[in-house]
């Protein structure tokens, strides 16, 4: 049952990356928007995330709640040892969400609006970076907590070249996803070309960061790396990630934007699932596994049932939301015609 709960959490993490992550990525592109189409880009980004970002954000809360319901000691270890990056991530979440709505409503004062726009795009960058650092920190072997005291201190247990590379990887993957989504949703051919180019750039950066993270894991995350090498499923997902990235580049070059979006989705999903398979059975390396963190089997079972019941309500609703705001827009957008990058 504990493994089943973890599978639900991984599925939520994948969905958070694909939906919520893309909202952060869109904010990253807001920072980089420029050129003659600057205002159009910002408008496309704002319209794309406005109706859905709050719902997409709930995946994170769900993961957190499932973690502390099912595996309280692992949750405690993360919250004690990774206090600082989590706090910084929270500040980013608050700034991103509030500055996004403030920007939309401060049309009366252009200075205020510019300031909000700046805070929005900056926090869209550093929030995923710190989220990635947290993921990196639970995957390397430095989190030791005894009697609610972090034995490795509160800074060096999460700050290492490896965690920084995972932070940057998270940022580039989210930017990659967002650019492929925005290329599909773009209303004009020029705008689409801009986001295809950006998707390609972010794809290259993401591929590089993946390689850097894998290389650095040899020194900083040996446990994860060994588990990955021995794990056929993990390797399969890594291979899938490589192939889909290649196909995404081809699709971007040929302006098959919907294919590139699908490939980006599978690419990011495969990386998250591949990581999760290599992390198994650990929740927080090197001390906390799924099995030594369960306090009550009965609770785990009940939470799994509650999640299944919740999913019955959740997925049709989510489908309706995406249908209303994403499907119609796609129908309205002009069909893409092939053109070089």
């Amino acid at each position: 049952m504990a493994s089943l709960l973890v599978m639900i959490m991984v599925a939520s993490l994948v969905l958070y990356a694909l939906l919520g992550g893309a909202d952060y990525g869109a904010g990253v592109w807001d920072l980089f928007s420029g050129g003659p189409l600057k205002e159009k880009q910002k408008e496309l980004i704002a319209n794309a995330i406005r109706p859905i970002w709050e719902a997409n954000h709930v995946w994170l809360i769900l993961i957190l709640v499932l973690l502390f319901s099912g595996f309280p000691p692992a949750f405690g270890a993360i919250m004690v040892a990774l206090y600082i990056p989590i706090l910084l991530m929270l500040v980013g979440i608050v700034l991103r969400g509030s500055s996004f709505v403030f920007r939309a409503y401060s049309t009366i004062d252009s200075r205020m609006q510019r300031a909000c726009a700046y805070v929005f795009s900056m926090s869209s960058c550093f929030t995923p970076f710190f989220a990635g650092i947290v993921v990196g920190a639970i995957s390397d072997d430095d989190v030791f907590v005894s009697q609610d005291v972090s034995l490795n201190g509160y800074v060096l247990n999460w700050l290492s070249p490896f965690t920084i590379s995972v932070g940057l990887l998270t940022l580039t993957l989210f930017a990659f996803l967002a650019a492929t989504y925005l290329a599909v949703e773009a209303s004009s051919e020029e705008l689409r070309r801009v986001f295809r180019r950006r998707a390609a750039a972010a794809g290259v950066a993401g591929g590089l960061m993946s390689m850097v993270s894998v290389v650095l894991s040899a020194w900083y995350a040996r446990g994860l790396r060994e588990s990955f090498m021995r794990n056929a499923v993990g390797c399969f997902f890594a291979l899938a990630a490589v192939i889909t990235l290649a196909l995404a580049f081809l699709a971007l070059y040929r302006a098959w934007v919907r294919l590139s979006r699908a490939m980006a989705v599978i690419h990011v999903g495969a990386i998250v699932v591949g990581w999760a398979c290599s992390q198994y059975p650990y929740l927080v390396r090197p001390e906390r596994t799924i099995f030594n963190s369960v306090l009550s089997e009965a609770i785990v079972r009940d939470v799994v049932f509650a999640s299944v019941a919740g999913a019955v309500v959740l997925f049709p609703s989510l489908g309706l939301l995406l249908y209303i705001f994403k499907d119609r827009r796609r129908a309205r957008a002009t069909p893409p015609t092939g053109a070089g990058l």
């Binding site: 709930v58 319901s69 509160y154 209303i324």
Partner: protein, 438 residues
């Protein structure tokens, strides 16, 4: 500042901030949906404009509620890891269910706020209804967690560890239903009166108009109905507290000595050193009657318990007096408006009454915060009553003042910007577009 005080201040501030936006998230959708339902029934454009106007204001407030709620769910672990490590599993069920309720709320809110042109009318109205229901449901689940901390149930305690946990029994602890009902009603009451107050002020500025009249009538109906039922709910809650948390009841009422036929104290200042509540207006047998529905029931005083188990009696007593006092004022205003309406007097023609509504605007929120102080401060020094003390649950993270200052600064800035934006959009609107559009 000691680490414990820093952590408590940060948690308290985060809750006090979030509860305002959470209350808006619970009751605004109900008011928007009522306005839209009236529009579909009567086809009077004023209702549609009102629904859209409220939805626009709601978009900002909901977003702040969502992000400040996220902060809270992390702070449970960041500040109180020992509480979460031992009790995480017990309170996991209401939190998981709240997660799904909040999901539903966020999804249909997106459809409601941004789907006016994209959805058929009935689906749009239905979305509003779903937001209203799921908002209330998620508030209920979250309050269940607080109720469990007050009246823990549904487990066996073996060597200080929670074992043999029954999630449903834990979720439905003795305080659950009374506290959840009280919270949801408080949200309707606070937001109803605040909205009525804002529209009354607008009406004083721009003269009588149908737009503000309609807005006031919907807001006042929601807030007034809630505050009247709140009296009954408060009675049920107080009797539950009397039964299960005698220390809390004694602190609420400033009852230092055990008494047969205890008096109800109105106002007053409890002085812990002298074991006496001074300057209070005492109604003989009042407390025994209210708490146990018997004139000569025995009410346990604080003296029966070690002083180490007392909360801060003056703070709890005063907060309780503020909450009950303001609730009574709002009930009286509701009865007055009902009487005026029954006499078929136009409420908005009566400038004095409109001014009274302006004055009542903030009272609901002040009562809501005071009530939250009562339940949270009244629970101290325990984080889980009788089982885990707050000072034993706080994190070992060494520099807690920093995060407290950071969060305080952040929330101050956010609060100011929200006030400024609302003022700029709602109150200082010189064009008077809504009123003119009709």
């Amino acid at each position: 500042m000691s680490p414990l005080l820093s952590a408590r201040s940060q948690m308290g501030l985060s809750l006090a901030f979030h509860i305002v936006f959470a209350a808006i998230g619970v009751s605004f959708p109900l008011m928007m949906t009522i306005a839209e339902w009236r529009w579909l029934r009567t086809r009077e454009p004023v209702y549609q404009i009102l629904a859209k106007r409220w939805a626009k204001g709601a978009a900002i407030l909901f977003a702040i509620g969502a992000v400040s709620g996220t902060v809270l769910s992390f702070e449970l672990g960041l500040l109180w890891p020992r509480f979460m490590e031992s009790a995480g599993s017990v309170i996991g069920m209401p939190f998981s269910l709240e997660g799904f309720a909040f999901f539903t709320e966020a999804i249909f809110l997106g459809i409601y706020l941004f789907g006016w042109e994209r959805t058929p009318e009935y689906l749009h109205l239905l979305s509003g209804g779903i937001v209203a229901v799921s908002g209330a449901v998620s508030a209920i689940f979250v309050t269940f967690v607080n109720a469990w901390m007050n009246t823990p149930a549904g487990f066996d305690l073996v060597n200080g560890k929670f074992t043999n946990i029954h999630p449903l029994k834990a979720m439905l602890s003795p305080a659950s239903i009374p506290e959840a009902v009280h919270m949801v009603l408080a949200a309707y009451c606070a937001v109803g009166f605040a909205t009525a107050g804002i529209h009354s002020w607008l009406m004083l500025r721009r003269g009588r108009n149908r737009f503000d009249e309609v807005a006031i009538s919907i807001a006042l109906a929601v807030g007034g109905a809630a505050v009247l039922v709140q009296g009954i709910s408060g009675d049920a809650l107080a009797r539950m507290v009397a039964r299960t948390q005698p220390v809390k009841l004694a602190s609420l009422e400033g009852q230092f000595r055990t008494e047969v036929g205890a008096p109800l104290r109105i106002g007053g200042l409890p002085v812990a050193k002298e074991r006496e509540t001074k300057y209070a207006l005492e109604i003989p047998h009042g407390l025994s009657l209210l708490a146990f529905h018997k004139a000569n029931a025995t009410v346990k005083g604080l003296d029966e318990f070690p002083e180490a188990d007392w909360p801060s009696v003056p703070l709890v007593h005063i907060s309780f007096q503020v909450m009950v006092g303001l609730g009574s004022v709002l009930s009286a205003v509701t009865l007055l408006s009902a009487w005026l309406a029954w006499k078929r007097k136009s409420l908005s023609a009566n400038r004095g009454f409109v001014k009274l509504l302006v004055l009542c605007g903030p009272l609901g929120f002040i009562a809501l915060e005071a009530g939250w102080f009562v339940t949270e401060l009244g629970r101290q020094p325990w984080i889980v009553v009788g089982i885990l003390r707050t000072k034993d649950a706080v994190t070992e993270f060494p520099h807690l003042q920093g995060p407290f200052l950071l969060v305080s600064g952040l929330y101050c800035v956010l609060g100011c910007i929200v006030m400024w934006l609302l003022a700029a959009h709602v109150i200082a609107d010189p064009t008077n577009r809504d009123a003119d559009a009709i």
